[in-house]
Symmetry: C2
Subunit: 328 residues, 2 copies
């Protein structure tokens, strides 16, 4: 019997979830839910029914796990607890500072309803969190570093677009190779914000705009760019469309640590992601955890979980016996 | 209250376990057990009592988790099930083909006694297995590759030492950079044994030995060297001691996969270990899983587990709340 999955929200992430579900034989896509007019939504997988979000409760008993594809700012804080009253839920809540609070709300709702919720699923938070945990548990005497990129930052791209005279723009976060090498050396360097990442901006200016003023405003923007070495390239609308339409991302979690009687042996654990499509990869992680949510519930679990709580074997379609034989 | 740990077997691995236990405040080292005369064993951490292995049952009720540090060929198949009758147990059983059988024996013994056993803990099997699982679950349309090294292979070093005219020797397994790059390209290459790894041998010959004959015999040795590009360096006993006394190891688990409507987006997940001391790192993994074994048992679990079954959070000394706040 396959696990019946609903997709709540249909942007880049929801689209990626439909594609990821197609790749899993044991998961069945029941429906997409949207706050827009369903007639205006054309799902990437043809034949998947689309309903208005208001109708989601009609699917109680017909959907096992709901994958939430809304944003962390305003959607998920409301939607995940609300839907956990009716379904097992999985979300990608990624506002790091507010995770404890989100956890508590989802936990209360899911427990009251006898459901399982897995929050903050994706790659950071998500797979990167797992790697920080495993590496730290194995090498307690050490230090870990997270680098992001090369990849598109949506927040920084939005910030560029708000600058006067800017028509469109895209920002790449790029880890500094020298910083990566310093970390890999095992010297446990202390690195400033500027030493860890570069910011590269591709900007389409409006006709007649003051390019020098735009560049200056971007480079001096507090929080977003002022603390970084930032480069600004002015390009045409066509170049932006041709060369910068993708949503790549990735990064590194590296822990260096020491063992031995006097810390004489050094060890390096490095985890790297290089992703052509940030939303499609995040969606693929969500789908694996949808499988796990269903299985956790089948084992009698209730309440909120994170990737840190989920036994890895529950993510795979393979049986425990197959996994032991094939992967150990 | 700290978790009371015993160490069964005292070679390089047992030594590493004592060092790793010292780095964990929540774990207490109760005793080392050896089949040798305890008076001849001088533990790396002074003050740790050493007992003969025959006396281990006297410690029922005084030791929560026993970490087994024997070999996979003959020690662990007997010792792990036997000790699981009295203690929670953790071992590093690494004979891949025999893991299912070992699992069944440990499971039966641990279940009968109400104990938890975690087998095949270390980095391969262990952390590498976890990475194969996570990466495969997230990118079902893909392929994974494991590379080992640069590192010392005990089995291959032993094989060199059995060659006529050889006094001593050490063998390094080295991943081929071109193969790593081919895998990272996302092309999912099919690689032969020879294309993936090199073997480099440092050999001390006996006086008057036929060096050409030694080199020829090593390079043509079936299973061990014949399928690889092997280089043989003759060095002095002093050089071997000075430059090749370490036990470094490591390797890579890389999965490349595709998502998208037509597999148009490529993703790469790369996990790398670079270890100065193979036994000390393996020991550090064993100790983290000893903590998990105790906690699993406290949660009511019984029977045999592998790293694939253990919720990651159980490995860390931090509480679930701290972990969510610090690592997610």
């Amino acid at each position: 019997m396959s696990i019946r999955v609903g997709v709540f929200g249909y942007g880049n992430l929801g689209r990626g979830v439909l594609l990821a579900l197609r790749a899993c034989e044991d998961l069945e896509t029941v429906a997409v839910f949207t706050r827009r007019d369903p007639a205006t939504v054309d799902p990437v997988i043809s034949g998947v029914p689309v309903y208005h979000a208001d109708r989601v409760v009609e699917f109680v008993g017909r959907i096992d796990v709901m994958i939430l594809c809304g944003g962390s700012a305003t959607d998920l804080p409301v939607q995940t607890p609300a839907l956990a009253e009716h379904f097992h839920v999985v979300d990608s809540f990624d506002t790091h500072a507010r995770i404890p609070e989100h956890y508590d709300r989802v936990d209360a709702a899911a427990r009251a309803a006898g459901k399982v919720g897995i929050i903050s699923v994706g790659w950071d938070p998500g797979l990167f969190s797992l790697n920080r945990l495993y590496a730290g548990a194995v090498l307690p005497d050490g230090r870990d570093y997270t680098f992001w990129g090369k990849g598109v930052s949506q927040g920084h791209s939005d910030a560029i677009r708000r600058v006067k005279g800017v028509l469109d723009g895209k920002q790449y976060t790029i880890p500094v190779e020298a910083a990566l090498d310093a970390v890999r050396s095992g010297e446990e360097p202390t690195l400033t914000t500027r030493e860890k990442h570069l910011r590269e901006c591709f900007v389409v200016a409006k006709e007649g705009a003051d390019l020098a003023a735009i560049e200056q405003e971007i480079k001096s923007m507090p929080n977003y760019f002022a603390d970084y070495d930032t480069t600004v390239h002015f390009i045409t609308k066509e170049e932006l469309a041709r060369n910068h339409s993708g949503i790549p991302h990735g990064g590194f979690v590296i822990r260096s640590g020491r063992t031995g009687l006097n810390g004489e042996n050094r060890h390096l654990i490095e985890y790297r992601l290089k992703l052509d499509s940030n939303p499609e990869f995040t969606a693929s992680v969500l789908v694996a955890y949808a499988r796990a949510a269903y299985r956790l519930a089948a084992d009698g679990a209730v309440g909120c979980k994170t990737v840190l709580d989920v036994p890895p074997a529950l993510l795979s379609p393979m049986s425990p016996e197959e996994l032991r034989k094939a992967l150990l």
